[in-house]
Assembly symmetry: C2
Homo-oligomer: 464 residues x 2
């Protein structure tokens, strides 16, 4: 077997060869905990849960790292509205994440790093970029200079010329390039003290993109096997991660980039800005997490998923059918009484022959033929083909060979009879008892008995 992965970097499906033979390092961008997780998040984390489960199933040791962006403009704004510390707000929604992810049966990552626990490593990483000339100071901020990184745009397949052409030029912006991005942000007025850190460039906090470069290199090494997230992160977030990491290490940052398709609702991308996001909490009031997970699996991860009630309803019905079948299966397997053993058959044969050995007792032999008949009736429900063949052989040995009872033959020649039988079974299905009785009588007059099998099928037995 070879696993193949659609790699956003090459835009091709590639054979998957991690750096180490049986070990896979995987970094998945986590949530910014300033609100409840929604269906869009659910898809990302279910998709990478499938990736992880399959890698494990195929025998890899998987180290999976997923971050929490617990310092961010939105967190600060929302925490101020709610008169909370940012850390308190973040903690609430980090816990919400674990609750909902648990309900979706998503395997835990090996590490869940948070920005607030990585500040020294982030500062060192930025210092290194500055000293290597990839970053510059502007006011109290540090910016990454995209012009200095020759491969900029290789993931999102853009180049700076096109970007410039398409970009609104902000006159008040002193950046070398409109696409330079902040690695370190100078503390603004009335930002909570909690999100203010000392740095070589004065008080401030990290920009968004830097954390992932730092966390992945710290926890998984300079080159990682899989980096994943939603398509919406390809540009600028992941593009910028590549710039930061490869500028610093000179090594390839990620071997395989995996991005899942958007979740749209009535074809509109799901997001907070548009007021169309479904929180999982809300969805789970209507659909169980099992149904939601099943629904998310129904569309291959790379395609967009357009949420619809019809879709999730059908997922619900399908899953109900699965449960139904599975429960019938385990009840059948548990039904140990149903088993017919080799010993049952050999004992029965011994008893049968002993009955005839004992002064040719046909009366007693018949009683064992009856026991065999009972086993056969049971066997028709629970025994496999091989066992049924043994039962057949035994019946023919008892009734045919030893007792000389001519065995009946299947009656499947007369087409008109078969048609009558079909009509009668249809009538029966439609609960048209009068009609089915009428047809049964007709068949009876032709000298046949109808034998209805437990499985709903029927056959004709010539009357003796």
């Amino acid at each position: 077997m070879t696993i193949k992965v659609r790699n956003t970097l090459s835009n091709k499906k590639e054979e998957f060869y991690p750096q180490r033979e049986n070990f896979v390092s995987m970094y998945v961008c986590g949530i910014t905990p300033y609100d409840e997780v929604h269906l869009g998040h659910a898809r990302v984390y279910v998709v990478f849960d499938i990736v992880k489960r399959h890698l494990l199933r195929r025998g890899y040791i998987v180290k999976h790292v997923q971050n929490f962006t617990d310092v961010d403009d939105k967190i600060i704004k929302r925490s101020q509205e709610k008169n909370m510390k940012p850390s308190e707000l973040a903690q609430i929604y980090i816990e919400d994440y674990f609750v909902q992810a648990g309900r979706l049966n998503i395997l835990k990552a090996e590490k869940y790093p948070r920005v607030t626990q990585m500040i020294p490593e982030i500062i060192n990483f930025i210092k290194d970029l500055v000293s290597k000339g990839f970053a510059y100071k502007l006011g109290g901020d540090i910016y990454f200079s995209v012009e200095k990184f020759k491969d900029y745009g290789k993931l999102s397949k853009r180049n700076l010329k096109d970007l410039r052409a398409g970009a609104r030029v902000d006159v008040c912006d002193g950046k070398n390039s409109a696409f330079d991005f902040a690695l370190w942000k100078n503390t603004k007025e009335n930002e909570p003290r909690e999100v203010v850190w000392e740095s070589p460039w004065g008080k401030g906090r990290p920009g968004w993109h830097i954390e992932c470069s730092v966390m992945s290199s710290e926890l998984l090494g300079n080159t990682i096997d899989i980096h994943g997230g939603g398509q919406d992160l390809i540009f600028p977030h992941h593009e910028n991660e590549i710039a930061q990491s490869e500028a610093k290490t000179g090594k390839q940052f990620v071997k395989y980039w995996i991005h899942n398709g958007f979740v749209t609702i009535n074809k509109e991308k799901m997001s907070k800005s548009l007021n169309n996001f479904f929180t999982l909490k809300a969805i789970f009031e209507k659909y169980s997490p099992r149904v939601v997970r099943y629904y998310l699996l129904m569309q291959q991860y790379s395609s967009p998923l357009d949420f619809s009630d019809a879709g999730i309803e059908s997922a619900k019905n399908t899953l109900q059918g699965m449960d139904d079948t599975y429960l019938r299966l385990i009840s059948s397997v548990k039904e140990s009484a149903a088993e017919i053993t080799d010993k049952d058959l050999s004992d029965l044969q011994e008893n049968f022959l002993n009955a005839l050995d004992d002064n040719f007792n046909s009366e007693k032999a018949l009683s064992y033929l009856h026991e065999l008949k009972g086993l056969i009736s049971k066997g028709l429900l629970i025994a496999g083909r091989e066992r049924l063949s043994q039962l057949k052989k035994l019946f023919e040995d008892f009734a045919g060979t030893s007792l000389g009872i001519v065995l009946p033959e299947e009656q499947n020649t007369d087409e008109s009879l078969q048609n009558l039988l079909k009509e009668r079974n249809d009538a029966r299905k439609n609960k048209n008892w009068a009609e089915s009785d009428r047809l049964r009588k007709l068949i009876d007059e032709k000298g046949y008995k109808i034998s209805d099998n437990k499985d709903g099928s029927s056959l004709l037995v010539k009357k003796v």
Copy 2:
């Protein structure tokens, strides 16, 4: 194994050891072909057919001889009434015998000797008895002198003293003993020329008993393993056979004497004299030979069988049930589509894993989970326990391990629910659809779905 036989001679059940290790010689007294065979005959020949089949089943080579008494007072009388030759009449009823015995599926004997084909051997046998002093001439007849044979009565457990006491003494009878019997009968007036043979004692024909002694020694040797017939033949026929044969050879005539019980009709012995015999031809118009054979097997051979319509009707129903079960069995075995092979499962597993290998395609993987579901539904009808366990393992591997779908658990805790389910199933059995719907709704309101198995059983599935 040891076969045990109830031996009329010892009046005990004895272990069966034929003279030769793997060979059994068996002589069964056949019919006198002057009328159609009846139920009494059917029993004798079915009983010894079971004896023969079981000896064969146990690995013996069986040489079975059964005679036709084609010279006899009754044949002569009846043929004269019908203006036929005795041989013509006999031939008609010999053919009737083969037709009816064939319909009863009775195995053919190895030899069917007829008196008319054994005359020289019979005459020699009688000459030998005369010369040894066991027989004497009276008029043109030759009689066997029972007083001369010391063991006379050993089979029927009588002795001559008692016999004499019980016998009407025929004054006009010149026999030494009232129980002396004719070996050779002088030709009377207007007997058909066809049944007249020259002999040392003038024109005549054999008596009844002599033929069996001659035929068995000629075809099976002086001592035979099994001699059989109906109980009514024990005295005088078989008693006289012993006297003739052992007087001539000085050897034991028969090792094991087997006699089947009478057939009575409303407790009266079946015979021509009483007008209560059923010809097979007549019975077969109402009951198939298979039913008649089955009926005869239902009573151990040594017990009397009292014919009753109730009895044969129940045999008919039982046999119908046997046919029904057997036909369902062979249709299940033939249903080759029903088979689930190891390859089915390994292919399915390979396809499932390949789907996930190919860029983690959960959509495609689900389609194979559906295929598995189909196999399971089929398996619930036709697969054995081991196969069902494999299907269960595979389902848990696909849905649980790889796709992370939490598997449902059996809902068999809530007793009140189980009772509702039971009530609803009873209502259903009684075709009380309104009530069963009402109960289904009740169960539905409690959050459960009813899953009806093909085998009529039901279980509860929690709604997803």
